[in-house]
């Protein structure tokens, strides 16, 4: 993203919309809800003097158009191909949009701040790996596992982190779910084989990292609160993710000798 070279009256509408979309796209790419994304883009455009703003967002696309007081018009879209979860960045983008709507600084300042945020590093790989381990291990203990199950679940957590982080970009979330469930089940089978551990809690612990329980909740919320299309897409994605999870588990369990683990 290049910095704005100069503020041109003719391109004012384009620049404002571009910056607003940068913020909105950033939010969408890092876990923000659709209604928040649309709301943010509208607020920013209005703060910079837009008379008429139309925004439409779903999980993979934002389309917006804006008309200024002097009847200049801009229409832009952003295609979002992959989303992750980065709540620190989401929070900062939220804060930036609050600040911009309140103070209405120059577009150059806005651009610089945005640039700085996008280039900032949020948390290390080591911390994330630790977090995945901690999550899987905690829930293995939650479901009644002992120290060995905790350790195996931690290994499963690391494996799932690696799948999530290092899988080639082409591989989407749904495929990653199959692989993660598959690997977790294999590791649980290994634990049962090696020292007769309670394999099921290892799977349950690791599964908590994959089950899209809250995604279903937010999808329903979107549906009931006005975002029918976006909500239904999210719901479909969540249900597919759950099915793929089951597929990965069943595949691994069947390969491990037909019996369940």
């Amino acid at each position: 993203m290049e910095n704005l070279q100069k503020i041109n009256k003719e391109t004012y509408a384009d620049d404002v919309l571009r910056l607003a979309l940068d913020v909105g796209e950033g939010m969408l790419k890092n876990g923000g809800e659709i209604s928040r994304v649309e709301d943010t883009i509208e607020r920013i455009c209005h703060a910079y003097g837009a008379v008429h703003v139309e925004v439409f967002a779903i999980i993979s696309l934002i389309s917006a158009s804006v008309r200024m007081e002097d009847d200049t018009y801009s229409s832009q879209i952003r295609r979002v191909k992959s989303t992750g979860m980065n709540f620190a960045l989401l929070e900062e983008l939220n804060g930036l949009s609050r600040e911009v709507c309140h103070d209405v600084p120059s577009l150059e300042y806005f651009d610089e701040r945005l640039h700085a945020l996008k280039n900032k590093k949020y948390g290390s790989h080591a911390l994330s790996m630790f977090a995945w381990m901690l999550a899987a291990a905690s829930f293995a203990v939650f479901f009644g596992g002992g120290i060995w199950e905790c350790l195996w679940a931690a290994i499963a957590g690391v494996a799932m982190f690696c799948i999530d982080t290092y899988a080639p970009r082409r591989v989407n979330t749904i495929a990653k779910n199959v692989m993660s469930a598959f690997v977790a089940t294999l590791l649980a089978a290994a634990s049962t084989f090696i020292h007769g551990g309670e394999g099921s809690v290892i799977i349950m612990g690791s599964l908590m990292l994959l089950v899209p329980g809250v995604a279903i909740g937010t999808a329903m919320r979107d549906i009931f609160c006005g975002e029918l299309l976006g909500g239904m897409l999210k719901l479909l994605q969540a249900c597919l993710a759950a099915l793929m999870l089951a597929f990965g588990y069943i595949l691994a369990a069947t390969l491990m000798g037909g019996g369940a683990i």
């Binding site: 929070e91 909740g217 329903m220």
Partner: protein
């Protein structure tokens, strides 16, 4: 059956730890971690209590989601952060991972009766979570609109 068992204590601790772990996975800023752990702990406690008192899976998850979402909205206003950060992480302990696993396992073992039972539990909890989130969203939206009307159309509570 005792209410205060070791199992409850273990689950409370691991709920808090699990919620914090998820917060770290989602790259949440450090300053929210304590509140997130607390939220996860209380959310699971409410879930456990309602189940213990005889409510079904749906009521238990609905009640605990009401708390988690309301807590999330309050924290969001107080600490200027998107409510999503708190909602998602506080609800993690009641996401039906265990029930989902058992559903799959009983399906594999062709034990259709048990699979059905677990499937109902899974769906019940998921619907409870969904219902709780929707209700709190609606209430917050209505309150936000009322406040906006009073102040003449300023910041309707979302920011």
């Amino acid at each position: 059956m005792n209410f205060f068992t070791v199992q409850l204590l273990v689950r409370l601790i691991t709920s808090a730890a699990g919620s914090c772990a998820f917060a770290l996975i989602f790259k949440t800023h450090r300053r929210h971690l304590f509140r997130i752990g607390l939220a996860g702990l209380i959310t699971y406690f409410i879930y456990h209590t309602v189940l213990y008192l005889g409510g079904g899976f749906f009521v238990a998850s609905f009640a605990s989601t009401l708390f988690a979402a309301a807590f999330g909205e309050v924290c969001a206003r107080l600490f200027r952060a998107p409510a999503l950060i708190y909602n998602l992480t506080a609800l993690i302990p009641i996401v039906p991972g265990g029930e989902a696993y058992y559903t799959m396992r009983y399906l594999l073992e062709r034990d259709m009766l048990r699979a059905n039972e677990k499937l109902l539990a899974t769906v019940g909890v998921a619907l409870g979570i969904a219902g709780g989130i929707v209700l709190v969203s609606l209430v917050v939206g209505v309150i936000g609109d009322r406040i906006a009307q009073k102040h003449g159309g300023d910041h309707g509570g979302k920011h």
